[in-house]
Symmetry: C2
Subunit: 328 residues, 2 copies
C-alpha cells in the first residue's frame, strides 16, 4: 500500500506502533505538542512541524513568507497549549538551484516569525534536497497539569474559537484556482494565507484562567479540530453558530461556493479551538479581551459522540475531514 | 551564486547573519548543540541534524539502518558535549512511493537508535517530499558551565580521541566505488558505516572529570574536527600519532590508497575529538576505561594556529577539509 493510500494519520500510527512508549509520558502521542517530565512540577515542551514547498507553499507565497509561516505553524501549537515558546532550532533542506539571496530571505523570514512571538532561533542544520523543507522545532517549559490537552473536554463544556474561519480556504482558492475577487477582498483573503498569525497571547492568558478543558489549533481545519477533540475526549459537539468570516461568506456568495465548506474543511488557519468550563466562561472571555482578542462561543460539548451543526433549525453532521498530507 | 558554489558553511553564515542573537546565549552558534538558559544553573540542550537519502544514505544501507543512523548522528553531538539525551522528536519527509512496510522499518530504526542510548522518541511530524529525510531533534538538560564547548582549548592541552579512524572512509569506498576487500575485512569496514555508535557513555563520564577543555564529534572527519576546535579556541595542533584503524590501514595498503587520507578526511565517524587538561589526563583516561572505552593521546594543542601532523620525523599541514553538504 502506498503512502497516498495510507494517508498521514495511518502513517503516524504505523510509526508509533514501532516505538517504545516513554514511561510517565506527561502528554500522549498525537497531541499538539510533546512533553518530558523534568520533575519539580515542570515539563519540557517540544514540538516539530515542517513545511514542504510542494504541499505547503501556495503560488504567490514568497520565501520570506514561507519561512515565517513555518515558524508560525509551530508557535500556533504552543499557543493552543498555552505554553510560551522559548527557543527554536530550524532544519533547512535546500534545493541546489537556490542562491544566496534566497537563503537570506529564508533567514529573515525565520527571524521575523520568531521575533514576532518574542523568541529566537538559536541553532539548526542545513542540507541538500530536491524540495525546500523548513523544519523548525520549538522548546518551552510548562507547569505540570497546566497544559490543556485534547482529551479534557466533558459534556456541557462550551466550545469556543478565537477568530472567524473560511478566509484561508477562500484565499487558497484565489491563489491556486485563480478565482477572481475584488482587489480589497482579494487582498484580505490572500493575506490570511500568506501572513498567518498564531494566537499566542490568547493561549498564554487562557492557561492562567484555568478555564480551558481541551484545546487544539485549527491548522487542519475547524471540522478536523472538533473531531480530534471529540475523539480524544470521548465527547461530541453541537455547534450552533458557524464562525464564518464575512469576507469568506461574501466570496462564497459571489462564486457560488458553499460557505460551510470554506469555514469547516479548510485548514491553514491558526485559530484556537477550545472547550471551556461553563462556570469560568466569563473569566476566559474577559482574559482574551484583555489581550485584545475575542472568544466566540460556537456550541457545546455533548455526550453523544457526533459533531453536529445546527443552523436554521436543521442539524447536519460535520464530517471528519480536513487537510491531510499524502492524500489526494 | 548557487548553493553548490557557496557550500554548507557559507550558507549557514548567511542565515545566521539574518538572525537576532538571543541575549545571554549560553552556547554560541556553530557549536555541536544549542542551549537555552533555564536559570538555577541549568540549561536546556537542543540539537537537530538531519539525514537525506541522496547524500547521507550509501548504497547497501537499509531503511532501518538509515533511521537508526539519523538518531545516532544527533546523539553523537550530545555525547561530545557530555549531555544525556532525554527525549527525541522526529520529522519524517517521505517519498510517495514508499509503503507501509518501509514506514514500519523506519519506525523500528528510530526506536532502536533511541533505546540503545536509553532515550525515547516522544513525538514528531510527517509529510511528503521527493527525498526521504529523517530529522530527529533532541532535548536534554545540562548544568551551566559543565558543557565542553569547541572554544575551550589552550596551548599545552592534550589532544585525544575515543577510537580509531579510517574505517568509515574505507567502508564508504567499498559501498560506493565497489572496491574489493576480503569478506571479513569488508564486513568490518562496511559495518562501521552501516552501524555507527555514539560515544555517549564516554562523553557523559568525561564531563564528570572536569578534564575536557574542548570537544567535538568527528562526524565531518578528524581533520575538520581539529580545525573547528582550532578556530573556535584560537589554538593550533601538533598531532604526532595518527589514530588510524588497522583495518583501514590494511585496506589502504592493498588498494594503493593513502591511509592518511582515509583517517583524516573521511567523516561519518562518530568518535569524540577532545582536548584534555594535562594534569587531569590520568583521571580522564581512567574514567573512560571504567565505561569500557579508550582515550588515545594523539598530540598537543599549540599556540601556533596550524594543524600539523608529525610522522616519521617530517611535519605536514593537515588541511581544513572534510565532508561538506552542497559541495561537489
Amino acid at each position: 500500500m502506498t503512502l497516498a493510500a495510507l494517508g498521514e494519520r495511518r502513517i503516524i500510527e504505523i510509526i508509533q506502533k514501532q516505538l517504545d512508549i516513554m514511561p510517565e509520558m506527561p502528554i500522549p502521542f498525537g497531541d499538539d505538542v510533546s512533553a518530558y517530565d523534568l520533575g519539580n512540577g515542570k515539563m519540557a515542551i517540544l514540538k516539530t512541524d515542517f513545511l514542504v514547498d510542494k504541499t505547503d507553499v501556495p503560488p504567490g507565497m514568497s520565501l520570506w513568507q514561507a519561512a515565517r509561516k513555518a515558524v508560525i505553524m509551530n508557535i500556533s501549537d504552543f499557543a493552543a497549549k498555552g505554553v510560551r515558546p522559548l527557543a527554536l532550532l530550524v532544519s533547512l533542506a535546500l534545493p541546489r538551484d537556490m542562491n544566496g539571496k534566497d537563503i537570506e530571505e529564508i533567514g529573515k523570514g525565520l527571524n521575523s516569525g520568531a521575533r514576532e512571538y518574542d523568541t529566537h532561533v538559536i541553532g539548526g542544520d542545513t542540507g541538500e534536497a530536491l524540495n525546500l523543507i523548513i523544519n523548525p522545532s520549538v522548546f518551552g517549559i510548562a507547569k505540570k497539569g497546566r497544559v490543556a490537552l485534547r482529551s479534557g473536554a466533558i459534556p456541557g463544556d462550551f466550545v469556543a474559537v478565537t477568530g472567524f474561519f473560511g478566509n484561508t480556504s477562500a484565499g487558497l482558492k484565489i491563489l491556486t484556482e485563480e478565482i477572481k475577487a475584488s482587489p480589497a477582498l482579494r487582498r484580505a483573503l490572500v493575506n490570511s494565507v500568506l501572513m498567518p498569525h498564531a494566537r499566542l497571547a490568547e493561549g498564554l492568558i487562557l492557561t492562567q484562567t484555568g478555564a480551558v478543558s481541551a484545546a487544539i489549533d485549527s491548522s487542519d481545519g475547524l471540522a478536523w479540530s472538533l473531531h480530534e477533540i471529540s475523539e480524544a475526549s470521548h465527547v461530541g459537539f453541537l455547534i450552533d453558530r458557524l464562525p464564518i468570516a464575512h469576507e469568506a461568506e461574501g466570496f462564497a456568495k459571489t462564486n457560488g461556493l458553499d460557505p460551510l465548506e470554506l469555514a469547516m474543511y479548510g485548514g491553514e488557519e491558526y485559530e484556537l479551538v477550545l472547550t471551556i468550563k461553563p462556570r469560568l466562561w466569563r473569566k476566559a472571555e474577559q482574559a482574551i479581551e484583555n489581550v485584545g482578542g475575542k472568544l466566540m462561543l460556537i456550541g457545546k460539548a455533548t455526550s453523544m459522540r457526533k459533531v453536529l451543526l445546527a443552523t436554521n433549525g436543521k442539524k447536519q453532521e460535520i464530517e471528519a475531514r480536513g487537510y491531510e498530507h499524502f492524500v489526494g
